[in-house]
């Protein structure tokens, strides 16, 4: 099912995933596509990053490695979606 998601649908699904996995009291529409996920208004931290990476692996089969790759992938919803699309088999 994930293979047929459009980019817009994928971004919406990622926002919902972050809200659920990180237990954030925000709505999907409160998270902008290009909003900075860490050190921004969402106030996510390193534990959230680990949680998101595990959820991405579980839901989309994409492993986000630590270090520079993770920092790049987790910049925003847009970069996270692009990472998933690029690495999904």
């Amino acid at each position: 099912m994930n293979n047929v998601l459009s980019l817009t649908q994928l971004k919406q699904a990622l926002k919902l995933m972050i809200i659920e996995e990180c237990d954030k009291d925000v709505e999907i529409d409160d998270i902008l596509d290009d909003e900075i996920l860490f050190d921004g208004a969402l106030e996510l931290d390193s534990l959230d990053a680990l949680q998101i990476c595990m959820a991405v692996k579980s839901n989309y089969g994409v492993r986000i490695e630590g270090g520079p790759d993770a920092r790049k992938a987790l910049q925003s919803i847009t970069t996270l979606a692009q990472t998933i699309i690029e690495h999904r088999v």
């Binding site: 996995e21 990180c22 237990d23 954030k24 009291d25 534990l47 680990l50 949680q51 595990m54 959820a55 579980s58």
Partner: protein
Amino acid sequence: MTTYIVAVGSYYEPVGDELPPLKKLVQETVGSNIRRVGRFIQLALIGGGRASSQLSNEAAVYLTSGSGDVEATVGVLNTIYRQAEPPRPLSFINTVSNAACFYIAQSLQLNGASSFVSSRYFTVETSLRVALLALEQGQQKAALVGAVDSVVLPIEEHRQRLRINAQTDVAEGSHWFQLVADASDRTVLATLDAVQHFTDREALSAWLAELPVEADDCLALGQSIESDEADHWLVETGLPPFNFREAPAYFKSLAGLVFCEFVRRGAGRLIYLNRDPVGRYMAVVISC
């Protein structure tokens, strides 16, 4: 040296097939939304927060539980064995017994030591004893001592885990005591006079025989004492039972509820006895 109880905080709720939501209650109690926590930590925050009036930020935290954070543990085990996946980091972290202490310390801005006190049969009694010793020896000036037990649905599985029959009502409980060594600027609710351990029944009888009995003393007996033995202690001490409510629903740290209710009643002296299956005893004495 006297140890004073200057605040108590409690949450007690019998549970059926649904669990009441706690998130809003946590927010109301500690003043902020605490995310990434399950019911066990939420219950700890509610009870601890309710006992935190004028709490010193140097206070130590002593938390105990009859069953621990079963929700977190069951969740992680299900993920590993049923879903064959590694557990989520946030779930795994909360299986650490002291995780609830971390959230309490963070929410109440406490800088003191925090400990999870584990004792299979004397949960509340042992945590009070550890705190009492720390206060008496001057290691701590104030302590927040609590006992938390949550329910994990389905209720039938929860009863199986507790090894109780299908007719027994169950509850969630979080009961906390703020203890201080110096109460000169505080309103004292009660004093924690003794938390004693006894190797056998004879040792407890000898100790009770030496205890001066007062007119307003009453006796409470722990969950592990069967009715036959309860009758024995009522006769031996000659004390009236402390009847605080009609048959409270079951949870392992019920002693916390008993102590909180007694302190809230605010009169007399409570002598509480409990035993383990080996035949060792503990006694707790609280005066109002």
